[in-house]
């Protein structure tokens, strides 16, 4: 079942006088349960692609369809709501709200979704235990290591029960041990809970773990391999 589909995606930035073609016609489908890496050198258009499928940016041309909804046609307000309910995000760094504890950060997104307090609390603890931070519930991000912070971010991303999780270079700031741990954890979640992960990276270790690697360059897909 396709959960994400892009059709003839184009993105042109109007940088002053010279238009920059960041994406030049990308057709892509992602199925439920995938564990996919999008790779490419910097300036390849990979971040732009990720932003567009995450509903953070709009295509100049083409369509992005998530579960049958053309998200590029949504108003900013509806789009924000759509992201809240359908997409989980893990960013490179500074993912978390610094004034909230790990527990509150995870709970926060369910709070935004308007879920019941009892459900929120229960799920938060489950999730943080699942990412191995059951003992750091009440620590604020400043007291957590980079790896721990990213795990909280993953816990938060899946807390909202999204259709898929988008992770933009989630390991860029981590050492190899933490990178390994984070990837193992994500893989486990993918395997056991059937959560779809799409992540961008230029880290060979990460690519190795991915089951499908899509390589982007000059705004087009140059290769798409499934292991």
């Amino acid at each position: 079942m396709n959960i994400l589909e892009t059709k003839n995606l184009h993105k042109i930035y109007d940088e002053k006088t010279v238009p920059v073609h960041a994406i030049n016609g990308i057709n892509l489908t992602i199925k439920k349960g995938e564990f996919t890496a999008i790779v490419g050198p910097s300036g390849s258009g990979k971040t732009t692609l990720l932003n567009m499928i995450g509903g953070l940016d709009k295509p100049t041309e083409g369509e992005i369809i998530i579960e049958g909804i053309k998200i590029h046609e949504l108003s900013p307000h509806k789009l924000t709501d759509f992201r809240l309910r359908n997409i989980g995000f893990v960013f490179q760094a500074y993912n978390l709200i610094p004034v909230l504890t790990a527990e509150e950060n995870v709970e926060f997104i369910m709070n935004l979704q308007g879920q019941h307090k009892a459900i929120r609390e229960k799920r938060t603890i489950e999730l943080l235990e699942a990412v191995g931070l059951g003992d750091r519930l009440h620590s604020r991000p400043g007291k957590l290591s980079g790896g721990q912070q990213q795990r909280v971010a993953v816990a938060r991303a899946i807390a909202s029960k999204p259709k898929f999780v988008l992770a933009d270079e989630p390991t860029a700031n981590l050492d190899s041990k933490s990178t390994e741990n984070l990837l193992d954890m994500m893989e486990k979640l993918n395997r056991e809970e059937e959560i779809t992960f799409i992540f961008s990276t230029h880290d060979a270790r990460v690519m190795k773990k991915a089951r499908r690697v899509i390589t982007v360059d000059d705004g087009i897909i140059v290769s798409d391999e499934t292991k």
């Binding site: 953070l56 709501d81 809240l84 309910r85 709200i97 610094p98 004034v99 935004l112 979704q113």
Partner: protein
Amino acid sequence: MNTYIKLAWRNLWRNKRRTIITSSSIVFSVFFACMMRSMQEGSYDSMIGNLVKFYSGYLQVQDTAYWEEKTLENSLEYDSALIAQIAGIEDVLLITPRLESFALSAYKENSKPVFVIGIEPEKEDRIIKLSQKIVKGNFISALDDGVLVAEGLARFLKIDTGDTLVMISQGYHGVSSAGKFAVRAVFKHPAPDFNNNMVFLSLAAAQNFYSAQGRYTSEVIMVEDHFDVKPAKKVIAGLLPPNKTVMTWNEMHPELMSMVEGDRAGGFIMLWVLYGVIGFGIFGTVLMMVNERRREFGVINAIGMQKVSINLMLFFEIILLAFLGALGGLVLTTPAIWYFYLHPIPLTGDIAEAMAQYGMEPYMFFSIRPVIFIIQAATIFGISTGIALIMMISVARLKIIKALRS
């Protein structure tokens, strides 16, 4: 909602120093503004109070021509029915007739023009508390033919209780009038102007002196406080025949009122400047706060928090900051002002003399009118709301992609 307030509160303490400095600036401005306004209003209250409580009363009924032309020709005939009617009005505490005019007073070779007020001693005492101001001698009764002399005047004339004061004037219908009056008492009036030229005597004695039997120039009316003045005026005006009019205390002292207005306006301008400066400071701080957090705002917007909600959180943050400052300012100010309200600061030396020349008591009075404090809190609230709105526009324009990259 709770979550936003909690977030706002914690965000405020992310940078403790900055929050403390910013709210200190608000504490400072609120403290200063309250002190200054309290002193201003305190001194107006004292000036107005001296006039209202020790002289004019809150309202007066007069002949329509009397205010423009204060002669005995424009005096009134005693009308007991009207007086009873006015006295019966709910807000009116007291009504008492007066006969006011001027005279040349003399004792031995010294003379001085004086302001003469014929009163019903017992009633008048309940308005201007004259008997409490007596420094020597005894208060007069209704049928007394003696006078009460203000302390400054007595000093000038070198007259004392028991001596005889001579007064010469022009009576009703231009009759020349002259009389000798035993000085029954010397009193001290808080307003230096009055203290230097005021003479009280019984209404009967005054009417006799001015050949104005059964006449009076005004009816002084006392109400509970100045809030009752307007309604009382309305009712009284309805009762009066066309040749009589009712005047309120502020209509009777237009120069004072206009000076108070001018002084108050000057004070407001100073405070606007102060608040303007403080406002810019808060704006600068909030701007830094928002700029530092552009990425964070981008992240929470990306994961699904609506901009409206981000703005709500930001709004709470700014308002909380202002609230802290305003609260601190009021907590600091209230006891100080309360103390000084009960114990006005006495002034000495040049400033005291200067104030006496302006007809003011040489004290620094404070006012505890709630409106002074409410206005300061409201101003701070207004400023911070304005700043919050500007910031909200900036958040509303936030581009997620750019914010995430910053």
